[in-house]
Amino acid sequence: MSKAEKEKGIERGHSRRGFLSGGFRGAMLFFFGMVTGFFTGKVRAERTVWQIDPFKCVFCTNCATECVLEPSAVRCVQYYPICGYCKLCTGYFDPQPINLDTGAENQICPTGAIIRTKLEDPYYEYTIDEELCIGCAKCVEGCELFGNGSFFLQVRHDKCVNCNECAIAVSCPGQAFVRVPAGDPYLLKTRETAG
């Protein structure tokens, strides 16, 4: 083959390099097909999202500080079915209150996000104003240690951006963060699971 013919061939893409490149392309496509095939059994069409297992939570306050969002996507929820409706709520009052009233200095919540409403003696309802909550878990600790544990932290999915790696999960000392199916994204306590 003369030099001119060879160069003409190269221009048309009939070079050795062109052939190898085409072969590589084919091989890679085959490989990607294999990868897809390998994962078809494993892929779950349903995504997973992050959630906190309330039984593993150790109230370390990382949820308030480590989340990429400010304020955190983790908020405290009040799960009414297990609440004791205590008059003296250890999730509401500071351990050493000056008076047992709704004064800010007597509350354990740093942002005053818990609303205390009298229902009937001796029951009081506690509701969380989620927009004020910062997920610091102070009330969770109080309720868990002396009450029923109806206050617990949950990732709120209207706020969570579902990071590929949750920044709180990385620093969670209780390793309480788990991936749960997006269709059923909350891990709520019940009286049965709790005790």
Binding site: S21, G22, F24, R25, M28, F32, V35, T36, F39, K42, V43, R44, A45, E46, T48, V49, V58, V68, E70, V77, Q78, Y80, I82, G84, C86, L88, P95, Q96, L100, L119, E120, P122, E125, T127, E144, L145, F146, G147, N148, H157, D158, K159, V161, N162, C163, N164, E165, V170, P173, G174, Q175, A182, G183, P185, Y186, L188, R191, T193, A194, G195
Partner: protein
């Protein structure tokens, strides 16, 4: 109700608390005493129902706890569809329409959608880790969207080059948008720094595969902008990269991005590439000046062509050097594995617990206290940590070998470049931004000629030629 004796005790003391609760004005000190009494058995007390459900007489209706839904699956499929559409569009605009303007518009759309609307999650760069974790950890279910975000840009790169980088990746887009005063990076420095993404890729796969950390996501510089919220460190990193990006074109893409490393390899073999006018190159060097990413370099001519024997000898030398570097780095990698493994939470916890057992630490951390509450034995924890550490030793060796091979191959490249007589973008380094189309005189002439064939848009052609700087 838990029935063990321990929790019964707590239940009783809780009962005491309950009755005293009902007495108005309990003294704080009394409460403190209660606290002290309770502290000892508290460790197993999580989730104990101390108080029965109240019996309301006033007809009080219990509110329900709200549970806002997670993002729907439909929107996930939409993301995949938008990605596929954006990639196809990018390929069309870069390779056939050859229009920098429209590539830029698509790039801004991607920045808005994948960046600010999707807040940088999900992204192809991070999906490497999901795939790596799914390969090595059978228990991890890979989301379909992560698999698609990983595969689609790679398949496109095989055919159309790095069109993903040019117009679809939000991280590239934010850097491209701030590039105002591009400076040239010396080709040798560019070549050396372009090795870093491969090393980053290897490290990211190791940490993801062992389930330790997703370092690409952790050190993603721009995600704080996309979320408009983030820690001080993340913001500083992002601002740093953007300030650097004003002068150095796309520093993250060229010198760090691990996904870019994969794309760089694949796009070398791409079917269609960004080409200027190879048959009528004027050797004017304008395109070389115009490319802010150092992807267009001067023609390669060998003054003294090597004989086949010389060439063969040089190949053998390079292969030997590569193998030696690979082997030595593999040994080093295996040796450093113990240090690397501390990134894994279980290993660091085991180290801490072991330290406490040996009396090296007086206090406990939240993590070690939480571990002791679970009631698992330390031996179980140590065994688990040792398994992970041995995985790290294997992984560290592979990582070292990979580093060595990458470094060796990168050293080989300058010696084995293809002869080239014209100015043309290198398919591996070209980020498909389309800037050079606006500068190549032959390309502009071609556009003008095409326009004049079509009288409708003829009026715009003088304006177009005025944009030539």
């Amino acid at each position: 109700m838990r029935e063990s004796t321990g929790s019964n005790l707590i239940g009783d003391s809780g009962g005491c608390g309950c009755s005293s609760v009902k007495r108005r004005g309990m003294r704080p000190m009394l409460w403190l005493l209660l606290l002290l009494i309770n502290i000892a058995p508290l460790q197993n007390a999580y989730g104990v129902m101390r108080f029965p459900p109240p019996e309301f007489e006033s007809g009080y209706q219990m509110p329900t706890t709200t549970t806002p839904e997670a993002r729907s699956d439909f929107l996930d499929y939409l993301d995949i569809a938008v990605l596929a559409a954006a990639l196809s569009m990018a390929a069309h605009l870069v390779l056939w329409r050859r229009s920098r303007k429209w590539v830029f518009v698509l790039m801004l759309f991607s920045l808005a959608y994948f960046g600010f609307y999707r807040k940088g999650c999900i992204c192809s760069i991070g999906s490497i880790q999901n795939v790596a974790l799914a390969v090595f950890d059978g228990g991890y279910a890979l989301p379909l969207s992560a698999l698609m975000f990983f595969l689609l840009p790679l398949v496109f790169a095989l055919f159309f080059g790095r069109v993903f980088c040019g117009a679809v990746c939000p991280l590239g887009a934010i850097q491209d948008a701030v590039l105002f005063r591009p400076v040239k990076v010396k080709p040798w420095l560019e070549h050396v720094l372009a090795t870093v993404p491969f090393l980053y890729l290897g490290a990211a796969v190791l940490f993801a595969a062992t389930g330790s950390a997703f370092i690409i996501c952790e050190y993603d510089p721009f995600v704080a902008f996309f979320r408009r919220s983030g820690s001080f460190g993340m913001l500083t990193l992002g601002v740093g990269f953007l300030v650097l990006g004003v002068f150095v074109g796309r520093p993250y893409c060229r010198f760090l991005c691990p996904y870019g490393a994969v794309l760089r390899v694949l796009s070398y073999f791409s079917r269609w590439k960004v080409e200027l006018s190879p048959n009528e190159c004027l050797q004017c060097q304008i395109c070389e000046e115009a490319c802010p990413y150092g992807a267009i370099s001067e023609p390669i001519v060998f003054e003294e062509p090597e004989t086949p024997l010389q060439r063969r000898r040089s190949v053998i030398q390079h292969v030997i050097v590569t193998l030696v570097i690979g082997a030595s780095l593999a040994v080093i990698g295996g040796g450093l594995a113990t240090e690397f493994s501390k990134v894994h939470p279980t290993v660091s916890l085991a180290e801490r617990v072991a330290g406490e057992e040996q009396g090296r630490f007086e206090d406990t951390t939240d993590a070690s206290a939480a571990f002791r509450d679970t009631g698992r034995t330390t031996d179980e924890l140590y065994a688990e940590a040792m398994t992970i550490r041995s995985e790290f030793v294997t992984g560290g060796r592979w990582l070292g070998a990979f580093f060595g091979i990458v470094i060796g191959l990168r050293m080989m490249i300058p010696a084995f470049r293809q002869r080239r007589s014209v100015y043309d973008p290198s398919p591996s380094a070209c980020l498909s931004c389309g800037r050079c189309y606006n500068y190549c005189p032959k390309e502009l002439l071609r556009v003008k000629r095409n326009r004049s064939l079509c009288p409708k848009v003829d009026s715009t052609s003088p304006k177009n030629s005025a944009t030539v700087k």
